[in-house]
Subunit: 210 residues, 2 copies
Amino acid sequence: MIRGLLLVVSAPSGAGKSTLCQALVQRRPDLTLSVSCTTRPPRPTEKNGVDYHFLSETDFEKRVTEGAFLEWARVHGFAYGTPRDRIDQALTAGRDVVLNIDIQGAESVRKAFPLESVRVFITPPSWKELEARLRGRNQDSDDVIQRRLANARAELAHASRYDYWVINDDLENALEELDVILRAEHRRVPRLSEELAALEHWGLAKSARI
Amino acid sequence: MIRGLLLVVSAPSGAGKSTLCQALVQRRPDLTLSVSCTTRPPRPTEKNGVDYHFLSETDFEKRVTEGAFLEWARVHGFAYGTPRDRIDQALTAGRDVVLNIDIQGAESVRKAFPLESVRVFITPPSWKELEARLRGRNQDSDDVIQRRLANARAELAHASRYDYWVINDDLENALEELDVILRAEHRRVPRLSEELAALEHWGLAKSARI
């Protein structure tokens, strides 16, 4: 069984990565969406189990001590964690997983799954658009928005560590790009090295199609 | 201007790479097909200027001394060369180029265009199919076919040096995979490093879409 790929999607807040990840999984039902856990309170539009698993501090800490998280961290005072089990099971079953995660978490995930990780950095089309999106949500105070914009500038410095860069100026275009990236990655030779070795010894074989 | 990519396509003889490359350019008229020069006589189905530029030994040598080839080599006693000008011009103009080339040539091209090269190794679906294709052409003696099969086995050992591996069991599938690979490569961060640096300093900018 060829293991699945782990599409690691990061972006500055407001670049639209949650919407993108959910739309990608709707478009490609063969993909598994990894939903993170957080102690942050849900925003008005967010659904438990879809956007996040919203946990109390006590429940979160319990899972930390159980080793249930692949990685976890505190950002802006709240805890965020990536559940390990679902990703492990999907990858082993040959299914691709979509993981919406911040930059700090993406680095930990890459270390845990160096062969399976495909890291994509999403940006909004412009700073102006990013600011408009953050203000348009009407969810955050001006202080929070200014902090998010400053964070976004700092986060951009990390974009060069990612494998791919996708500009989310149009949802359909961005979805198509994520789909294309995932399909192409299935044909990359480093991921197929075992198959290629077998092929050299046993003759050519049919591989899973992209 | 973002430079174009150079899709370097290699395969054992009989894997169908000439057909694939020509069909890819028909499907994507924005692509430039690089046609190689050779001193080998044309096969019955081959057209001058489409499959190869068929040259005399004298004309070939003249171009060698003029430095017209990016790389050239002798294979099975005949000379093969890749004209430099057309590739240079297309890449500089931001157009992607498809280059059908043997393994030896692919290595030289990678050294000449390390940033632009995207190397794809094509295999037929099985050894049996490869032999059937070589015999089906009715163009070669049994000795030549046996030599080509032995070469194919040796060439497979080089597949692991390529970036991608595409199995040509169905022309439409294989074309789709080549198309997807080229589109994904346009979003790879190492190719966009200059743009990313600019983006960090000047704010987010719109990039060419894939």
